[in-house]
């Protein structure tokens, strides 16, 4: 099966086509289809239990889908494993921030660079000039990423010792270290105060300027409405609306899903 043949730059970066997933009898995703445009910021919202995180896990390959297809840059992802998708250019962060707590901040970001480096066990022991060079370039790139999110000053600290807001930034730097084309952010503003949320919004804009497409699950409505170009709304596993923030705010089905239905 092939994606619709169109001009390459006009083709969406990510296209979901009829994704369904059930856990036992529970339908977590039901026939979800939408597309994420290149260099856009797309939001994924919906009430609790709407299936947002499930969809994230299907896109990144943690869960296998029951049916439907995912096209990344026109390529069917099929059953490719998580690490393969990362090397294709899909990176993610977690809702509760999952850093490698005992490792230094820089080491965390270096693990994020894993798919763009090659040194194996032999290289680790032999440390030939090309292995040293690769390591040096990886460290340089990762320091740049830390600098980009403003965390270069804590590079040597154990990641687990940082305040939560900083850990989130380090996690974003770690995801960026793999040079993704698509970055999935699972509730990036959760646990942040108003000031930090505002800075996060600016950072998301800067990430987009680097040419990275963003897809985020977010509960903070003001952030979502402010930074997103498009929003997909899920309710009970189904996509009930897709459009610009303005269209979504006026959508009857969305209002019904969030505030409860008055009629019927």
């Amino acid at each position: 099966m092939n994606a619709p043949k169109t001009d390459e730059s006009a083709r969406p970066l990510l296209a979901l086509d009829g994704i369904s997933k059930s856990f036992g009898g529970v339908r977590a995703s039901h026939d979800v289809s939408f597309a994420v445009e290149r260099k856009s910021i797309t939001g994924l919202i919906g009430p609790n239990g709407a299936g947002k995180t499930t969809l994230f896990n299907i896109i990144t390959g943690v869960y296998s889908k029951d049916c439907g297809s995912i096209f990344f840059d026109g390529q069917d992802l099929g059953k490719s494993p998580v690490h393969k998708r990362v090397s294709m250019g899909i990176a993610r962060t977690f809702q509760n921030v999952e850093l490698f707590s005992g490792m230094s901040v820089l080491e965390n970001v270096l693990v994020g660079r894993h798919v763009r480096t090659k040194c194996g066990f032999f290289g680790a022991v032999a440390r030939l000039p090309r292995h040293r060079e690769e390591e040096r370039l990886a460290q340089k790139y990762c320091m740049e990423m830390l600098d980009f999110v403003g965390m270069a000053h804590v590079a040597k600290k154990p990641a687990g010792d940082l305040p939560f807001g900083w850990q989130r930034l380090v996690e974003i730097a770690r995801a960026l270290a793999s040079q993704p084309r698509l970055l999935l952010l699972d509730e990036p503003a959760a646990g942040l105060n108003a000031m930090e949320t505002k800075q996060l919004g600016e950072l998301l804009g800067q990430i987009r300027q680097r040419g990275v497409t963003l897809l985020l699950v977010e509960h903070d409505m003001s952030l979502t409405m402010e930074v997103c170009d498009y929003i997909a709304v899920l309710d009970q596993g189904r996509k009930i609306a897709f459009g610009t923030p303005r269209q979504i705010q006026a959508d009857k089905a969305v209002i019904a899903a969030y505030l409860g239905q008055e009629e019927f």
Partner: protein
Amino acid sequence: MKPILRNILVYGAFIGVVAAYGLLEKSTYYLQLATFVGLNTLLAVGLNMLMGYAGQISLGHAAFYGLGAYVSGMLTVHLGWSPWATLPCALFAAGAVAYVVGLPTLRLTGYYLAMGTLGFGMIVNILFREFRRFTGGPSGLPGLPELTIGSINLSHGANALFLVWGCVIVAFFICERIVDSRMGRALRAIHYSERAAAAVGVNTASAKLAIFVFAAVIAALAGFLYAHMITFISPSTFNFLASVKLVAMVVIGGMASIWGSLLGASLLTLLPDFLHVFAEYEMIIYGLILMLVMIFFPEGLFKNLVKLYERAKNR
């Protein structure tokens, strides 16, 4: 430049201590005891790579120790091979078994992985006991040749000590380099969160398998050295209790600490020797030590000693 200087100093001192001990100690008994400390250190450091760094518990590690010993033992005794020719076979056999066993087993986590490896260790031990024709059964396989180079015997006294500790030093060097590398970081990442490691692109299954095979090959090397030093092997050396003892060495010395393996192996090798009056209560004493370490020094003795030293220095 500073870390390089530190390394030269540390390894220089290490080699110096081993050389001085080997040259000055005249008692065969104490030379052999020190050689055993080296063998256990070798086993512990390999297991520590798997357990301490990658966070994968193995309760069957003695099986690989035994495989190294038995493969080499059977080839030399029954087929009359030179011990040196059997070394690659022993290492390859243990690595291959680890690969085949690791493929399904390493998909398990936590207690399930512990149970899986425990079962594997027991099966291997039963095979050692039951294949009498080849392994000599429960009474063991006698008459293994000693290791020699020309007229130099490497299975006795100071020579054995130098050979074993030479392997330990090389293994330490290799392990330290692996830990501080792309693959080492990936393994440590798996320990903290396998989910996150996969999400940032680490092929967790193959990384775990690789370190499992690595640990097995190191254990097989120790088994090979042991077999030709003692020239007699029996299944009880490689049983479940041996596996548990190895785990205890790693935990007591310190998880994710290469030099901790040295401390843990030394303690658990020397202690029973000094406390042999308590031989019958050996396991109880181990259990007690393990409990106390877990309660008071959860990071292992080595890291706590380093912390104490740093605190004293800063005062």
